[in-house]
């Protein structure tokens, strides 16, 4: 089976029903997407397929047709995506385990909604669980990221 992840094509020999998450983590060694619940309830495994946020823990790899982007493909420590830079600026993370998924969800939101309202943020980010309670900073960071992407000030 052939998968395109972060711009690179990989050949993998896995069952069609293996969730994408475990192909990424255990077969390809891409560990930014996290295992939290396995039933699409926490969002820690969020990646993009053709730019749209999906829960990789509940997506059969055999059903993936598009190009996959993980947090590692969004940006790097040396060249951060605006959302990642906003997460650093706002010092969002505590344990940080959910933040890959939070950032991928936020990037997906901002790609279709350049200026989300509080309600928009609440609606689209609430499927991502944070046990540490960084929600106030996530809200702030989404707005900071939106401003960065628009090239203006918040």
């Amino acid at each position: 089976m052939r998968l395109k992840v972060n711009g690179k094509t990989h050949e993998v020999d896995v069952e069609e029903d293996m969730p994408l998450l475990w192909v990424l983590r255990d077969e390809l060694g891409i560990t930014g997407p996290k295992y939290g619940c396995g039933i699409a309830m926490c969002g820690a495994c969020t990646v993009h397929v053709d730019g749209v946020a999906v829960r990789s823990c509940s997506l059969r790899v055999g059903d993936v047709s598009g190009e996959i982007t993980t947090i590692e493909g969004l940006g790097s420590p040396e060249a951060m995506h605006a959302v990642q830079a906003a997460w650093v600026e706002r010092q969002v993370a505590q344990c940080g385990y959910c933040q890959s998924g939070q950032i991928m969800a936020a990037a997906s939101l901002l790609s279709v909604n350049a200026e989300p309202t509080d309600e928009d943020i609440d609606r689209s980010m609430s499927a991502n669980l944070c046990r540490c309670g960084t929600y106030p900073r996530i809200r702030a960071a989404v707005k900071t990221a939106a401003a960065k992407l628009r090239g203006g000030k918040p």
Binding site: V14, E15, M18, L21, W22, R25, D26, G29, T31, G32, P33, K34, Y35, G36, C37, G38, I39, M41, C42, A44, T70, I71, E72, L74, G75, S76, P77, M80, Q84, A85, W87, V88, Q91, A93, Q94, C95, G96, Y97, C98, Q99, S100, I103, I121, D122, R123, M125, S126, A127, N128, L129, C130, R131, C132, G133, T134, Y135, P136, R137, I138, R139
Partner: protein, 746 residues
């Protein structure tokens, strides 16, 4: 490093020692006072060197022995050392270091003492000193009890200052320039003519220098890092998916495993049939372990899938099978035979209640899972008589002792590599999952094994916060609270948790009444009695421990009495409060929330106060009673913490604690049927979601001298402030958690 053992005792026993290609600096504080007789029993060998700073050619590494489970402990510990050592923030490297009794925690045991944090008397002060000695004696290298900052505040700054002093001496030797003419800047010694000698280049010389017996610490006004908002050292990694948690480790030849154990904890396994699992793709080996079976495979998901195919014959639960039956056991424990403590008994409660119009209530709190987002996992490798363990843990030395007894290996052949944890909330004070993996390693030697629990295994094999009940009686007189008689019954967290490490703690379990008996209120007739319920489900410490439930039940009933007296909830708490720093936090939230002002239709506020871990916290919660349920609009919180070492992290921790407290109060409980936890994943154990998170305004007060930790104390007052606000908004007094059993939330 054993040369420290030959150095005579003195007030500060400090040593440097050569490490491979470098030098390590440490400090070991020895307070010899005639009040602490145990100290005389300590042998010289116990004066192990305590290394916090390692310098080699590549630069400086700061050793951070307290686990970072999200609370920012690595950054905080690094800041304490770096402040004195003079290292550029961006150059800081940290290493959790080897597990060692030298990293004992002198503060964590203080919370278990039967002295209120507000008790500054002779006996209480000396008991706290004894707690320090005990911590050292037992070698308690533990992260917990919001104690990291309090414990490290002095000793890690001293370690940094000592290292800097030795590096200055080394530079003086190398250059022939008098030490007084040298200064340091960002990891280098600077000569008067402007030459820069990096600390790394001085390591070899420094290794031969005896460190000074005492050092002078910087004045607070000269601090560069402490007291400032500093970027967390892990923030870029955690924002780019490059932070490596224990679950992310990859090693050559590694195999992937999971285990299934009896969800009726301790119930044993009568038999199992793994014939289908053995044929499942990718399975390498199936290993029976204590109370369950492990599956080793070539991929975690394949291990999960194969484990699903195993048929088990589990034994029955060694405790009542349902939550209802457990509550019956709790209810039956309010009697003299089960009395565990009566640490507060002021005035004469019985006399005050006789003839008075007695107000009575019963409160209940549920079992709660820790459910950190990273499920329990560990990498183990047993090869050539040497056991390697990679995992996030708050109890490194207990963990090694457990692995030693499971394998028969000597502790020096067990090597623990502490990892970053995706949350804990107390869960990583346990090592049950490590013991399982060690069984796998014994049966499958040579290659590294990464063992990962499914979320379902994690939820059904937690040692939860215990369920408990309280019965209260009270009376009011002349518009004032006059009598408060509080009886609390829980199973003992301390006995359960220490029992798993083969330790028994004598005396009462203060956790049963923590956050209730020690509150700084002067009620004329005031009594708090703890009852110890026989062990039910094994239980453990959950963020803020005893105060997590007691904050709710103690403050809510106080609120009931205040309403019965017809008094103002905030003013009456203030009138009753004798402890000045606690009064200040109440006054602060009153001001922040414009207490007393009209919020408009269907809106109301509630206040609550809990002093826990030595930190007084007052919170005001504002709610709206909407047609679809309660909405939490805003929270105001004031915290007395002595000193704020990083205002940014402080704010994040306080807010996180409130969201933790409110979320679980709204909707979370772990219930048991047939001896098994019923909430197997986040769909049934949710906590707070982003859309429900209120605006939270935080204020730190620093009116005391004691430096305190902030990971837990904002949790206990959150639930009662919410329940009190709901009462104010709806007239409905809810005496049971979670609140959504009785009211809806939007």
């Amino acid at each position: 490093m054993s040369r420290a053992g030959t150095i005579a005792r003195r007030t500060f026993l400090i040593g440097s020692a050569a490490v491979a290609g470098g030098v390590a600096f440490g400090i070991y504080a020895y307070k010899r006072t005639p009040l602490n007789p145990l100290l005389d029993g300590l042998g010289d060998g116990q004066a192990a060197l305590t290394p916090y700073v390692r310098v080699d050619q590549s630069g400086v590494t700061i050793i951070t022995p307290r686990a970072d489970v999200g609370q920012g402990a690595y950054s905080m510990q690094a800041a304490l050392v770096a402040e004195e050592l003079d290292v550029a923030w961006e150059d800081i490297k940290v290493d959790p270091g080897p597990p060692s009794v030298a990293y004992y925690n002198g503060k964590v045991l203080a919370e278990g003492l039967p002295f209120a944090a507000t008790d500054d008397g002779f006996v209480a002060r000396n008991a706290r000193l004894l707690g320090d000695v005990l911590g050292k004696f037992l070698g308690v290298q533990v992260t917990g009890g919001s104690s990291t900052v309090a414990d490290a505040y002095e000793k890690m700054r001293v370690a940094g200052a000592v290292a800097r002093e030795v590096l200055l001496q080394a530079a003086a030797q190398q250059t022939g320039i008098a030490k007084a003419d040298l200064r340091t800047r960002n990891g280098a010694v600077i000569t008067p003519d402007g030459r820069s000698l990096s600390y790394g280049s001085l390591a070899a010389t420094a290794a031969k220098i005896d460190p000074p017996a005492s050092v002078k610490l910087k004045a607070e006004s000269d601090w560069r890092y402490l007291g400032k908002v500093m970027p967390r050292i892990d923030i870029v990694a955690k924002s780019t998916g490059t932070a490596i948690f224990g679950i992310d480790l990859r090693m050559p030849g590694m195999v992937y495993a999971t285990v299934r154990a009896n969800p009726r904890l301790g119930g044993g396994m009568k038999g199992y049939d793994a014939s289908a699992a053995a044929k499942s793709r990718g399975v390498v080996k199936i290993v029976p372990i204590t109370d369950g079976v492990g599956v080793i495979a070539d991929n975690t998901w394949r291990a999960f899938r194969a484990a699903d195919l195993i048929k088990f014959d589990w034994g029955p639960a060694p405790y009542p099978a349902t939550t209802a039956a457990m509550f019956e056991t709790v209810a039956a424990s309010f009697n003299p035979a089960h009395q565990d403590s009566r640490l507060k008994d002021e005035g004469n409660v019985e006399a005050a209640l006789t003839g008075a119009s007695v107000i009575e209530a019963e409160y209940k709190v549920p079992h709660l899972a820790h459910a950190p987002l990273e499920p329990m996992n560990v990498v183990v490798q047993f090869k050539d008589g040497r056991l390697e363990i990679w995992t996030g843990t708050q109890i490194p030395l207990f963990l090694i002792a457990g692995a030693a007894s499971a394998t028969g290996l000597r502790a020096e052949n067990i090597h623990l590599h502490p990892q970053m944890s995706g949350g804990s909330f107390g869960r990583r004070l346990e090592d049950d999952y490590v013991r399982q993996a060690v069984e796998l390693a014994k049966a499958f030697q040579g290659r590294p094994i990464k063992m990962t629990w499914t979320r379902e295994e994690d939820m059904t094999h937690d040692f939860p916060r215990p369920l408990g009940m309280a019965r209260m009686r009270g009376a009011v007189k002349d518009g004032k609270v006059d009598a408060y008689d509080l009886s609390i019954a829980y199973p003992s967290v301390t006995a359960s948790q220490f029992g798993r490490q083969n330790l028994s703690i004598p005396g009462p379990d203060v956790a049963i009444v923590a956050g209730a008996w020690d509150q700084p209120f002067k009620i004329p007739n005031y009594r708090v009695t703890g009852y110890r319920v026989p062990e039910l489900v094994p239980v453990s410490s959950w963020r803020s421990v005893g105060a997590s439930g007691n904050g709710f039940l103690h403050d809510c009933f106080l609120d009931e009495l205040i309403h019965a007296a017809g008094a103002d909830p905030l003013k009456e708490r203030l009138r009753l409060c004798w402890h000045e720093p606690s009064r200040k936090v109440l006054e602060a939230v009153a001001e922040m929330s414009s207490w007393g002002s009209d919020l408009g239709k269907d809106r109301a506020r509630g206040v609550a106060f809990t002093l826990s871990f030595g930190v007084p916290v007052a919170e005001v919660v504002e709610v709206t009673n909407t047609p679809r349920g309660i909405r939490i609009d805003k929270v105001f919180v004031a915290v007395e913490v002595g000193k704020v070492l990083d205002p940014g992290n402080f704010d994040n921790q306080v807010q996180g604690g409130i969201i933790w407290g409110l979320g679980h109060a709204m909707n979370a409980e772990l219930t048991y049927a047939d001896g098994i936890a019923q909430q197997t994943n986040y769909h049934a154990f949710e906590g707070m979601r982003l859309y429900q998170a209120p605006r939270i305004e935080v204020r730190a007060l620093t009116n005391t001298d004691e430096v305190r930790g902030i990971g837990e104390p904002s949790v206990p007052p959150a639930a009662p402030a919410l329940a009190n606000a709901i009462f104010a908004a709806t007239g409905k007094r809810i005496r049971e958690l979670p609140l959504n059993k009785h009211i809806a939330f939007v």
